[in-house]
Symmetry: C2
Subunit: 371 residues, 2 copies
């Protein structure tokens, strides 16, 4: 395994491939444009003003974030149409009001009580989306609970500061699927369920009602965005080992890897020890088709980045700073202490969140805005 | 559940109980002193110069860290006897030399080839410990492999810059135990195995050979540190839900919790949604005695901190920013959106690593040195 890469890696470092990122953005933007839906990418994945500019170059002006702090960060970089796709945290009402004064702020409501409370605390107008649960069972009003949806809509309509934009969902259960066909089916199911809720709202006199969906698998797999008005994928900017297992992307679309120095080898167990642990990769785990726990896949280093993913190697365990790579005899023999191995993360959002900067395969530093 | 705490929590915040931290340090320091062993606490858990001073107040001058960067950080705060308890990363040789010039630097070697290579790259003297594997199977020379141990010792002895201090282990498999008796047995086993290695080295003419051990469960459970020369526990400063399950600590020793705002409730599933996810807690998981996956335990808020751990509640799932708490009907009814719940982390080291500061139960901000 070569150590000749011109990237000077001293310690676990996130390397991004800008060309692939641009291609991933371009593909999603074009599909959105052709489908006549608004593209509101989720910036929680990269959390970087610089990468944000790469989106802006495609004419994108509407974004999604997952916290008030992240909204403040991007608002500071001239993003002025931001959705916080997270249940409203009333303890941050000062930050919410500050943002609502400055930009077009979109918020989620899933309970009429929260909407009622928010109405009393808001000083400036905000755009509201009712969060619907189409089967993920994390947050949102169950799509069959028309009464609760109507009650939330009435509360929003009765408010001076809140404007009802529509309904929103995140079909996060798509992450458990392992074929493009099943993802396509889930897209159809979530769109049907969202249109069912929309029809109930329209019948009750609430109109227009837009539909916003979010998950990277559905957004990546379907050819057209029919039956909806907005898409909010985030992970697609980098993709990762989970998206590869789902079928959301090919190996050549993955745009982020963690370069890790090899610090030890254990011949009797055919294990390679990486400087690269839970604090660099996150402990998110992928169960592969054999039931094996995978904490990352391994790619060979090539000039300025990584090449093919090695099929028989994987990160089998992580402690705080160590990663253990299971290998085969042939690969084991080719690797030396001091070499670099590239880990394709299980979940690029969580891995990226652990670092404050990226280095591109061309060697440019890209700061992230975490904190 | 009360929201009357005088700590003004807006978002997921690490709260530490300084009295408990001081008591945890005091107990370990006293046991070390009575056992006549060196106490070299691992600072990777808290990563904070301020908390470091609380150790210094007990006369502690020798510490352990897990990276070159962490060593540099603490060296900048007058710590001048530091062990980097991680396999040497030769790609950071400049940082290693910089540290070796300034302080008494202790490093780990587990392969004679690495020692040979290091010898060529070092400009200043360093203290070396041979890493032994007593059964954890992560890193280190297997304790039965006398040949490899002797070969490493010879390489170190033949080096101009390296001084052999002794042998070191981390019995991380103690984290899988669930009773104080089994931990006590593991202590005896690891001490026997280390003394076996020591006797082989002494017989081969290497002397004196010190023995250093590290894991928090063994260091917490045994009454005296017999048969060794140094202890390096780290986690004990905060403890966590895993240590509680092992029996390393009582509930009243746990000194860190993550205060999380409640942002939604789902009555049909008796679930509470916290603003507090994988980026605040880490995805480390504890399998409880029923086989349930637990991502955190829940404690009630009291004035300035948290009280008892609630037995039937637990964090059942985490996404990037959301935590889902399984609850019972009675507790569910008492909790409102906007309340604070305290999460006792599964693994306090990983949780602490995700934050840049703590707030004490008295309301003081304590910065951490992460980055």
């Amino acid at each position: 395994m070569s150590t000749s890469s011109s990237l000077n890696i001293e310690k676990p470092t996130l390397v991004i491939n800008k060309k692939r990122i641009i291609a991933n953005i371009s593909r999603m933007e074009e599909k959105s444009w052709k489908s006549d839906v608004r593209f509101r990418p989720h910036f929680k994945t990269h959390q970087s003003a610089t990468i944000g500019e790469w989106f802006r170059d495609f004419g994108i002006r509407t974004i999604t974030v997952s916290s008030v702090d992240m909204a403040k960060y991007f608002a500071g970089y001239r993003w002025n149409d931001i959705m916080i796709a997270f249940p409203i945290n009333v303890r941050q009402i000062d930050g919410i009001n500050e943002l609502a004064k400055a930009i077009s702020l979109h918020l989620l409501v899933e309970e009429f009580e929260v909407a009622k409370n928010l109405d009393k605390l808001l000083y400036y107008p905000v755009q509201i989306w009712i969060k619907i649960d189409v089967g993920y069972n994390r947050t949102g009003i169950d799509y069959t609970d028309t009464e609760a949806v109507i009650r939330a809509a009435e509360t929003i309509k009765g408010s001076k500061r809140m404007t009802l934009n529509g309904i929103l969902t995140h079909a996060g259960h798509s992450y458990n699927l392992r074929s493009r066909d099943s993802v396509t089916q889930l897209y159809a199911e979530q769109v049907n369920r969202m249109n069912f809720v929309k029809s109930r709202l329209v019948n009750a006199g609430f109109s227009p009602i837009e539909i916003s969906i979010g998950d990277t698998p559905c957004c990546s797999v379907v050819e057209r965005f029919d039956g909806i008005d907005e898409v909010r994928p985030g992970n697609f900017v980098f993709y990762d080992a989970t998206q590869l297992a789902i079928g959301s992307c090919t190996e050549d679309d993955i745009a982020l890897a963690c370069a890790c120095p090899v610090v030890a080898k254990h011949k009797s167990r055919l294990e390679i020890i990486l400087y690269g642990g839970a604090v660099h990769l996150s402990k998110d785990v992928l169960i592969d088709s054999n039931g094996t726990k995978v904490y990352g896949r391994i790619a060979v280093p090539v000039d300025n980045g990584w090449g093919k993913i090695l099929q028989d190697l994987y990160v089998s365990a992580l402690s705080q700073e160590h990663g253990i790579v299971k290998t085969d005899a042939e690969t084991f023999g080719r690797i030396s202490v001091g070499d670099i191995m590239y880990v394709i993360p299980v979940h690029s959002c969580l891995t990226a969140d652990l670092h404050r900067r990226y280095i591109t395969t061309e060697g440019d530093i890209v700061e992230s805005g975490k904190y």
